[in-house]
């Protein structure tokens, strides 16, 4: 027994001594090589895929080997940090530290040379553009999320009962794969505006004219233009909500529904009392995801109206302050406000995790 354990240990030491330096060399070597961009594109891609996969796995493997040299009790204590370590470090570098820095910068002046107290926050809550941005962001959060989730649920319910389930889903789903730049191009053709009498090239105005109305500048008149921007967001996000909810609906037990129907429940009652409660978890997930997207997305506003005509939202203001006016103080302060605004949603999600007793 003792002999065998000794042999196993020796083997472990040998493996550690051989493999760890080897993987470090590959990792660092690959890093330096890629940093200098010496290869053609296709080679770089192939190399990166192999190198990336190998490095990540080798990292965990060699760390595991090293930690295995310790006694079992120590191993069990250290190993969790080996597994979360890389993720935490990268997230720390790319997100956490910048966030903390933003918090600091939000109390400094525009080029971060002097302490400014609450000046930036005062600006956020008193400036008239900012107030518009706040109001619009609330519109985006409420209507963007509500309509995307509602249409998703509606189409999911319809698809389940229709003859064209697959095709229908795919068509509603399609916009999800389209970039914001692409969506911008697409919707400019919907909302295009030409003066009265001219040939309308935008579908919406063409319809209005065909029914005897006057063409309107859809994106130029506040506050309705916000809704026309939100429509683009809903158009992009409904597919996501549809696929997730449609799959959740498949999980609702047929027997319970049938039993309720036999008991004389109307289809609507079955929906409200049985179907919706059983997919509640998925609805929360979808709503959270879409809400976060609504809060962060600035591309639609940025590419369609550039925030003119009273369409500014918090995210687009933040981008502008940061990259256009180069006012890091204000830009950071807005980012912090966005972060605070979503914390209740995140808190709620964590509580849901708790309920599932995974924590």
């Amino acid at each position: 027994m003792q002999i065998q354990r000794d042999r196993e240990r020796k083997e472990l030491v040998v493996r550690t001594v051989v493999f760890t330096p080897f993987s470090i060399i590959v990792m660092v070597g690959g890093f330096l090589l890629l940093r200098n961009n010496p290869m053609s594109q296709i080679l770089t891609t192939l190399f990166a895929i192999v190198w990336g996969t190998f490095s990540v796995l080798a990292l965990f493997y060699s760390m595991n080997l090293i930690v295995q040299l310790f006694p079992t009790r120590k191993y069990n204590k250290i190993i969790p940090f080996v597994f979360v370590g890389p993720a935490i470090l990268i997230i720390g570098w790319y997100l956490l530290i910048p966030t903390v820095r933003s918090l600091v910068l939000s109390f400094m002046n525009r080029n971060s040379t002097a302490f400014a107290g609450l000046e930036n926050y005062k600006y956020i809550f008193t400036d008239s553009t900012m107030r518009t941005a706040f109001g619009n962001t609330v519109l985006w959060l409420l209507f963007g999320t509500a309509f995307a989730v509602f249409f998703g649920l509606l189409t999911a319910l319809m698809a389940e009962r229709s003859a064209i389930e697959k095709l229908g889903k795919t068509l509603v789903f399609l916009p999800m794969g389209i970039s914001m730049v692409g969506a911008g191009v697409i919707w400019k053709f919907m909302y295009a505006y030409k003066p009265v009498g001219a040939n309308q090239t935008g579908l919406l105005n063409a319809l209005v004219v065909a029914f005897g109305g006057e063409p309107k500048s859809w994106l130029g008149t506040a506050p309705m233009n916000n809704f026309f921007l939100i429509i683009i967001f809903v158009w992009l996000q409904t597919g996501f909500s549809l696929v997730v909810l449609a799959a959740a609906l498949k999980g609702v037990s047929e027997e319970i529904k049938e039993a309720a129907r036999i008991d004389g429940a109307k289809e609507f009652t079955v929906l409200m009392k049985i179907v919706l409660p059983s997919i509640y978890g998925s609805i929360v997930t979808v709503s959270t995801t879409i809400m976060l997207a609504a809060l962060k997305s600035f591309d639609i506003v940025y590419s369609m109206t550039n925030g003119l005509y009273g369409t500014e939202v918090l995210a687009s203001q933040q981008y502008k302050q940061m990259f256009k006016f180069l006012d890091y103080g204000r830009g950071s302060a807005i980012a912090i406000i966005i972060l605070l605004a979503v914390s209740p949603v995140i808190y709620y999600n964590l509580k849901e995790f708790n309920k599932r007793e995974v924590f």
């Binding site: 890093f31 890629l34 961009n37 770089t44 990166a48 895929i49 990336g52 990540v56 965990f60 493997y61 595991n64 190993i79 969790p80 597994f83 979360v84 993720a87 990268i90 997230i91 790319y94 997100l95 956490l96 910048p98 319809m158 229709s162 003859a163 095709l167 229908g168 509603v172 789903f173 794969g177 970039s179 730049v181 692409g182 191009v185 697409i186 040939n199 309308q200 579908l203 063409a206 696929v243 997730v244 799959a247 999980g251 037990s253 059983s278 978890g281 998925s282 929360v284 962060k296 995210a315 940061m322 890091y328 950071s332 966005i338 972060l339 979503v342 914390s343 949603v345 995140i346 599932r356």
Partner: protein, 301 residues
Amino acid sequence: MKRAVKMTRSAKIITLLLILFCLVWTVPTAGILITSFRDSDAAASSGWWTAFGNLKDFTLKNYDEVLGGQRFTVGTAGGGTAARRGASMGSAFLSSITVTLPAVIIPIFIAAAAAYAFAWMSFPGRRILFAMVIALLVVPLQISLIPILRDYQKIGLNGTYLGIWLAHTGFGLPLATYILFNYISTIPRSILESAFIDGANHFTMFVRLIVPLSVPALASFAIFQFIWVWNDLLVALVFLSGGGQMMEVVTVRLMNMAGTRGSDWHLLTAGAFVSMILPLTVFLSLQKYFVKGLLAGSVKG
């Protein structure tokens, strides 16, 4: 019997409603698809729905210019002129692939390992670290751009593919960890326990059990990340602009088409369509996994 008949009638109505809904949803895309085949003057002066009235306006010229590069003539040293072609979508397409694939693959294992630890190991600080990861889901990534750009300039990563892969890895990790945690935490405890009794260590466990069992979740994150990275404009603009025209990705090229050479709307439509092909193909072909992986944990029963 009567019930069955009634059901089919309501099914018919629902099908009809759904067709209507799909029509509304598809019209915007159909509009630019048609426009992308139209002559530029025709597209600027009349709506795309009139295109079928005068078929001679249809042309493949837009796609030719988008895929092969715009044609323009330049004066040569000898006083004559020569035809040249501008930057094409083809090289941007390749560049996008180079950016996207590693940016999808690298974060997957890092996130899976973290999710495994969060779900199945107990250690001090677990709750706080996990809450931090989830909270960072909402950080608008614009916050990070300037600090990271400064770091990159210091260590020479600006304008390299490696730099943008790492950036996308960093920005994608919270979502990856969230999705994978959702999935991995639902793996039955008994499976893991029996493996431990057989003497597996955490690494073997991770490679032999956790990764294979989580394939649906891995795939669903991969699709998410693929579409996000492929369609991203901001990160590419910030971190790749130091790399010159050869490194321009599809979205950046598309933007430049609209901007630098005047507003070539007719080219934009064809360009937009070319840029959509790959993400849509990936999306549609992997749809099944997308949903499966995403749903774990939130569905009961």
